[in-house]
Amino acid sequence: MEKLFKQISQTLLAELNDLEHLALSFGGEKSAFARINAARIRQIGNVDEADLGFNFIFDGKRSTSTISLSADLDEDLNRARRELNRLRDETKQLPDDPYLVIPDSTETSINKTHGELPADDELPHKLLPSMGDVDLTGIWSSGRVFRGSSNSAGGYHWFASDSFSLDYSLITPEEKMVKATYAGTHWDQADYEKFLADSIKKLELMHLPPKQIEPGNYRTYIASAGVADVLSMFSWGGVSEAAIRQSESSLGKMRNEGAKLSPHFTLAEDFRSGLAPRFNGNGEVAPEVTTLIDKGELVQTLVSSRTAKEYGIKTNFASGGEGLRAPVMGIGTLNESDVLKTLGTGVYLSNLHYLNWSDMIGGRITGMTRYACFWVEDGKIMAPIENMRFDDSIYNFLGENLEAVTDTALLNPEVGTYDGRELNVTICPGILLKSFALTL
């Protein structure tokens, strides 16, 4: 794939006319998927695809596109040339774009990591027998993911990595569930079987008779996976500079009214894990670490070069949508082993589900509790709870009601596949809240 991208890049960029600028991006994957229901195979298959993205600029106008590639160089060069010519024709007809940014990054990088993945035809036998009689439903994804970028200024980046994930739910006959994700780059059968067995053990707690709690405000612990869901909301009407400037951000109150979150809350865009590429679609390389919220204060936002040009500010080479690509939340001092004792009496939430802004400008999020969520009394788990709806503002539960943050940040891999397999990982600890509003 790298050879294909490099050859298309070299050819197209050499064929540009005067005053034309072009940034190319590449996205691709060779993936295996197995959908599992009741510890049996529901659907299984491979997806092999590659796309070439264009950001074409001429005479103050800009147009972008994406085409499918076939992995045959001659065919793909034909497709790419046709697309470039189409863009030339279309761009002429468009109005001037005052905020376009001519790609000028000359940086280069190559990052290729190889893993050890199970052969596709061995997958069912490696995955399923150790599930035994447990009701397990989930998705296996594995294979190689490719990202590339090149531009007419000479910049070039290539990123390729192997990875696998088994994202699954374990379900009791009473329909109580535990969620887990086994992910990595090098398959280890014994390690997988131990991980699976450990998660099955967690299911034992779910056999306790469930407790129906009433709507109200509760002391609450949200584990790392649930916190990752909350942090994902910061990529939608959150840390984007453009969203704040255009009055479509929950953090507008921090910028414009001096609102603050808790001193326990720190959030950064932090690429040091190396799990996600630092370059964006224009080939611009983000700083290794950009602290966004420092001890509750909004200190920076994600700023794309386009936004920077529009508002006359400095870019930090965010992606076009100014969403988080490598979110890392700062740890606190609460020892994981002290969570239940410190919670005392309240609810313990392992996961959240279906979050949405119920009042974006007010910073209020609604969503559901899901999976292993418990009623805790005097530091002891008493019963799983029936799922509850919450509806609370980040200015409350990440503000004055954020009592403590655990001292361990866990990796929460993004297993979403709407636009192909994701590379993002959210690294975050758990949070203890003095109060959290459960509403239905």
Partner: protein, 476 residues
């Protein structure tokens, strides 16, 4: 591409082979505050090869379109199917892919050539100017999404059908601000105006008139009081009913969810197989149809991606649950009646049970009769927030714009209108149903489901509805 010739050349030890070629061009243009923000086009094409071996389907989606590449994909799919057959959830036969022949062409009045890229941009720029009705409007957006899609399916048991669509979605929005108060209006919810249609959707006079109303309502909301908190009557406009039907009826009735396929992602369902024919889902006024045959609705088609012929079916009649949203595979697995809704988002995904057009049939009441019947309540329109639990029970939805209803009359405007309820009790509280004059058609390109994930187009239509005693509340 001669798909039949490629199929004939595939030599693999499979009980059934199917090829589904998809080519889709999506153009998207966005103008913000009079300036171009996006002018982009996505042209995707590829082929989904499916095989059936030893009762197990397996697939290989590839963007390689040459015969050798497709043959190799079929060979690899056979390897996967054989490996998985020992662990199959269900052992299928070739009747899971019924014989289908025919074609479908979506209806439109003006072809894409009727507007050049420059002309569409010009209209969008004019639209943002119309949206800015005052200095209090701080951000304006106008967007157009035009999709040209074609698919061709052939199979070893003789299926050969092709379907072509032209689809247009558009939206116009204004964000208004006054001090710390910020409000937004769109054209019925983000891209809710999504249709199988042509460039006739961009009638300039009509678009600009709508933009003036959208801008004015955004400003109007700035000085509105918050939606009252309390249990009272709720009147929902058809553009919000779209979301209500989608989340609390559509997903709940998907048979693959009921069978547990989605339990790790979108979730399960409160509906169980034994409920069909017995569960009183809503009040007697509630009639829900699956109807992929409506001319301009967003998810109309002739065959689903398994080859089942698409026909109108009542899922809920007089409030009674009759039939689920399940394609042939789900029908075989569950023994339940279903519909032709086995759909894939593109060539790179295997089909699963999806909604298509799922509609609430019109009733008898006029707009005035419904509003006149409310002593104290709120009218809400245009979705802005949505969340529901994994069983499709506890939901909370929010709208952009509300009006108090007092003593049978619409009175003051309210901002941040929200409501929450539980699906069955909510639908059983449907006490008045608008007539055909209140019936409106909407759609969305963004229904998410499945592992691996798939976003697909759905259509929903509904009349105005009145619900009794619902929990309402306002903003933060």
């Amino acid at each position: 591409m001669d798909l039949q010739a490629i199929l004939s050349g595939i030599d693999v030890p499979a009980d059934w082979v199917g090829l589904r070629y998809v080519k889709e061009d999506t153009g998207f243009r966005l103008v913000r505050d009079g300036k171009p923000e996006e002018n982009t086009r996505e042209s995707k094409q590829g082929i989904m090869v499916e095989v059936l071996v030893d009762g197990q389907f397996a697939y290989y989606g590839t963007s390689r379109l040459d015969a050798a590449g497709i043959q190799a994909a079929a060979g690899q799919a056979v390897v996967l199917a054989k490996a998985a057959a020992k662990y199959s959830l269900h052992s299928f036969e070739a009747d899971a892919r019924p014989l289908a022949r025919g074609s479908y062409r979506s209806a439109y009045k003006k072809a894409t050539e009727a507007f050049s890229p420059g002309e569409i941009s010009e209209l969008l720029i004019k639209s943002t100017a119309e949206l800015k009705v005052s200095d209090k409007v701080v951000t304006t957006n106008a967007m157009a999404r035009i999709v040209e899609s074609e698919s061709h399916f052939v199979s070893s048991n003789g299926s050969d059908f092709d379907q072509q669509y032209l689809m247009v979605s558009a939206d116009y929005s204004a964000v208004a601000q006054d001090g710390s108060v910020t409000q937004k209006r769109t054209d019925g919810g983000l891209l809710a105006k999504s249709y199988q249609a042509g460039m006739e959707v961009f009638d300039e006079q009509d678009v600009l008139a709508r933009c003036r109303i959208i801008g004015a309502e955004a400003v109007e909301l700035l000085s509105a009081e918050d939606c009252p908190t309390g249990t009272m009557d709720l009147v929902l406009a058809p553009d919000q009913m779209m979301l209500q039907i989608h989340e609390s009826v559509g997903h709940a009735l998907e048979i693959d969810r009921i069978l547990g396929d989605e339990r790790n992602y979108a979730g399960w369902s409160f509906v169980r197989p034994a409920d069909f024919g017995k569960l009183q889902y809503g009040s007697k006024l509630m009639n829900i149809t699956f109807d992929p045959t409506i001319g301009n609705q967003f998810a109309s088609y002739a065959f689903d991606d398994g080859g089942l012929k698409a026909e109108k079916e009542f899922l809920i009649k007089d409030g009674l649950l009759l039939r689920g949203l399940g394609g042939r595979e789900s029908q075989i697995r569950s023994g339940l009646d279903g519909v032709a809704n086995f759909r894939a988002s593109s060539w790179n995904r295997a089909p699963i049970d999806r909604m298509a057009n799922l509609n609430l049939e019109a009733g008898e009441s006029s707009y005035d009769e419904i509003i006149g019947a409310v002593e104290r309540g709120v009218f809400m329109t245009s979705n802005r927030s949505w969340s529901i639990d994994d069983y499709r029970n506890k939901f909370q939805f929010g709208c952009e714009y509300g009006k108090l209803i007092e003593n049978g009359k619409l009175t003051r405007t309210v901002k941040n209108p929200n409501y929450r309820a539980i699906s069955n009790p909510f639908w059983r509280s449907l006490k008045m149903l608008g007539n055909q004059d209140t019936f409106e058609v909407y759609g969305t390109p963004f229904c998410g489901k499945g592992e691996p994930n798939q976003a697909i187009r759905v259509g929903h239509a509904s009349p105005l509805c009145l619900f009794d005693k619902v929990e309402l509340f306002g903003g933060a």
